[in-house]
Amino acid sequence: MALLQLERISAQYPGAAEPVLADISLSLGPQQLLVALGPSGSGKTSLLNLIAGFVEPSAGRITLDGVPVKGPSAERGVVFQDDALLPWQDVLANVGFGLELAGVPRDQRERRAREMLALVDLAGFDTRRIWQLSGGQKQRVGLARALAADPRVLLMDEPFGALDAFTREQMQELLLQVWRRTAKPVFLITHDIEEAVFLATDLILLAPDPGQIVERLSLDFGQRYSAGESARAIKSDPRFIETREHVLARVFSQRSAARRQEFV
């Protein structure tokens, strides 16, 4: 039973000759962590912007619970690559911002915001200012803010792309913990192959010119982490490495195919 449904979506920038995305169909249901992986130019960000409602498709249909998506809404929470937090408010007010917009009374939204901060391991950070936080802490606040508004689905736009390798590993594990505990369907885009293979229950591989889905995989490495296996053990497992190399080979074969076409 799919919650979010994309049917034959195409997208084109005004005035551009080539579409950025062509004929994309996918669905996202409960218990799913769908990762879209692709090189730059494959239309990952455009795909996320379409689902978030920031841009409109030139063809096709996007529905959430059967209702067509129109414009941005609190049903589809977004975590951005650059935190996009409000520096004039403290951490607690940032996390409660969505609830404030919805008119939830202060004590209620602060209680909820504190719960969400505890969920992302930032309990006690209430009165910190945004500019006092590290990159990883900002992304946690961004995640807590999106979750506090209780969206139907969570969209993540390369959320760990700007972080250093150590922090990225920690954030991946944190995301899996949060995802398991909140049971929110997640749609995440990334260009990090290891991250994609580790996190995804479902992986779609995008290729550029125009952006299209070239492969779909169902994976269980994230579930193995949730079941108690350590992240490093999973990532050094021969099956994990095999999957990673397979995906890598697919990306490269697409690229060289595109390059051959350029020479012809």
Partner: protein
């Protein structure tokens, strides 16, 4: 032990250098100012310049005391000061209340920009004193014409700075607020206005500077009270110490306004200039 001591020495060194450097810069400024005053005192004490052209610092101070207590031309220094500050305060209040909404409209709405932008850009480069005669013809020589003149001088910088601030709002913050369910009005109230606040305050700073010099110039021409009037009428009777004193007070007020607004900026927009 060494791992405990190391950060302390590393942290304290650059701090000491920074303190010494900021102190020395400030001291250079203080020394320059006091040098200037000593020079002023010296040339008048030796009698190089006649008191008619440059009265000694002591005489100016004495006159200041006299002005503050008994007054000059029927009113004390405080009454002149109050008249000037009242005019600029009124004009500033009106300008802030009207220019910020206009600036938001210009930055946010294409049609409002088409209508208002050319109007503001047309009158902004005109020196305010050039249209003072027209304002006097329309509104008479009373308080209204002076307040209106300064209002116009302050309005343009605030409106333009606000529009710039609105146009440079981080689009990611807007999208984040939209995906949390923000309406158009909520976007303005919760994202656009706070984002533009640093620019708005810069506009107020520039506007106050322009407004103050315009006010004093206007008082030189057409007024019966105010600091500009005091300087002008004293000059007509060659009361040079009052002229010098008036100029010093005008400079002090301008300096105080600039410092006050900088302090306000630090208090209201502490995130400005921070890496975030």
């Amino acid at each position: 032990m060494s791992s405990y001591e190391l950060p302390v020495t590393v942290a304290s060194k650059p701090k000491a250098v920074a303190v010494r450097r900021s102190l020395s810069t400030r001291w250079i400024s203080v020394l320059t100012l006091s040098g200037l005053i000593v020079l002023w005192w010296a040339v008048t004490a030796v009698g190089l310049i006649e008191p008619l052209f440059l009265p000694p610092p002591g005489a100016v101070l004495e006159k200041g005391w006299l002005l503050a207590t008994t007054g000059y031309m029927d009113s004390t220094l405080w009454q002149h000061l109050g008249a000037s500050l009242g005019r600029i305060g009124l004009a500033l209040g009106a300008a802030v209340l009207s220019a910020i909404p206009v600036g938001i409209a210009i930055g946010h709405n294409r049609i409002a920009r088409g209508i208002l932008d050319p109007l503001i850009e047309f009158y902004r480069p005109i020196p305010p004193l050039a249209y003072l005669p027209l304002i006097v013809i329309w509104c008479g020589i009373g308080e209204l014409s002076k307040v209106l003149l300064i209002y116009l001088a302050i309005f343009a910088p605030i409106a333009i700075a606000t529009a710039t601030g609105v146009r440079t709002v981080d689009p990611a913050k807007l999208r984040a607020a939209q995906s949390l369910g923000a309406t158009r009005a909520q976007l303005i109230r919760h994202v656009i206005l706070p984002s533009a606040l640093p620019d708005i305050l810069t506009g107020v700073r520039i506007g106050l500077g322009v407004g103050w010099s315009t006010l004093v110039a206007a008082e030189l021409i057409a007024a019966t009270s105010g600091l500009g009037f005091m300087v002008q009428s004293a000059a007509q009777f060659l009361v040079t110490d009052v002229v010098v004193l008036g100029i010093l007070v005008i400079a002090l007020i301008a300096f105080a306004m600039e410092m006050g607004l900088r302090a306000l900026q630090r208090k209201l927009v502490p995130w400005h200039g921070q890496a975030h």
